[in-house]
């Protein structure tokens, strides 16, 4: 499997994402100014502060040339994973429902969180088991997932809630403890915690690999 990791000006987790992707396949960097996805089988939109997060988190990055291609790729069923700022970019681009608001604490929080798999049938979670807990670091200021109640009902009914914060781990105030959601087709997943920082027991946990292994399975 060949994975592509997008690099925007202001991305800072692109190298870790590349490193993580190489645990399950080949991986290349995709430059934000290019219209070329280099024939990858899956795209990771990584964390960081794309375009300085000016205006709103993720708002400017969605208009970059590479995102035109990522949108096309996603809409034709291609596998796309948005992590943290990447999740925010995918929401702004309309590839995922909802939005990410400032944490209820208004503080930047960096901590290890437990997320439980809510749907183990998506392309990004199929190597996991429903209810399984993954220990993954989270680090952000704007990670409070929000969507109108009817949309949340629809997401839950349609199995689009892929990951939830375990009890006591929803530090940012996300609606219904949602940590990760997919689009209706399931090929696009966005989550706030960072699976690419949890790929080696040496640094605390290798649970993040489970998502990448799902995509490669």
């Amino acid at each position: 499997m060949k994975l592509g990791v997008v690099r925007f000006p202001g991305s800072c987790d692109d190298v870790d994402a590349l490193h993580a992707a190489r645990r399950v396949g080949d991986a290349v960097l995709l430059w934000h100014g290019d219209h070329d996805l280099q024939g990858v089988d899956a795209v990771i939109v990584p964390g960081g502060f794309s375009y300085g997060d000016y205006l709103r988190v993720g708002a400017i990055a969605r208009f970059s040339p590479v995102m035109t291609e990522v949108e096309r790729f996603a809409r034709s069923g291609g596998l796309v994973l948005g992590i943290c700022n990447g999740f925010e970019v995918l929401c702004e681009a309309g590839l995922l429902p909802g939005a990410l608001l400032p944490n209820v604490s208004l503080r930047f929080v960096c901590r290890q969180v437990d997320v439980a798999v809510a749907n183990d049938t998506t392309p990004w979670t199929r190597a996991t088991t429903a209810g399984e807990r993954l220990s993954i670091p989270a680090k952000h200021t704007s990670g409070r997932y929000w969507a109108p109640d009817p949309v949340l009902d629809e997401l839950e009914a349609g199995g689009q809630v892929a990951l939830r914060y375990a009890p006591g781990h929803n530090f940012n105030g996300s609606a219904r403890d949602i940590a990760g959601v997919t689009n209706a087709a399931g090929n696009v997943l966005g989550l706030m915690p960072h699976p690419e920082h949890a790929v080696d027991a040496l640094t605390g946990s290798a649970d993040g690999l489970r998502l990448l292994e799902s995509a490669a399975a």
């Binding site: 205006l55 708002a59 608001l101 400032p102 944490n103 209820v104 208004l106």
Partner: protein, 76 residues
Amino acid sequence: MRARVLIRPKAGILDPQGQAVERALPALGFGGVADVHVGRLIELDVEEPDRLAEMCEQLLANPLIEDYEIDLEPSS
């Protein structure tokens, strides 16, 4: 034409920034303050003011979470 776009969090969405300001004011001795919300002001010169709503929908605001209001300054 000079335009001002006021962007505010939608009613009903928790606004921790507004709450923080609301808590800070009484601490400074300013009483009688309630329902504080913090938004954004964008000022711009536009040649086609008719397209401002479109600009708001596509970039300046996120219509899912924010309301916007457009004020045009009469040309001097």
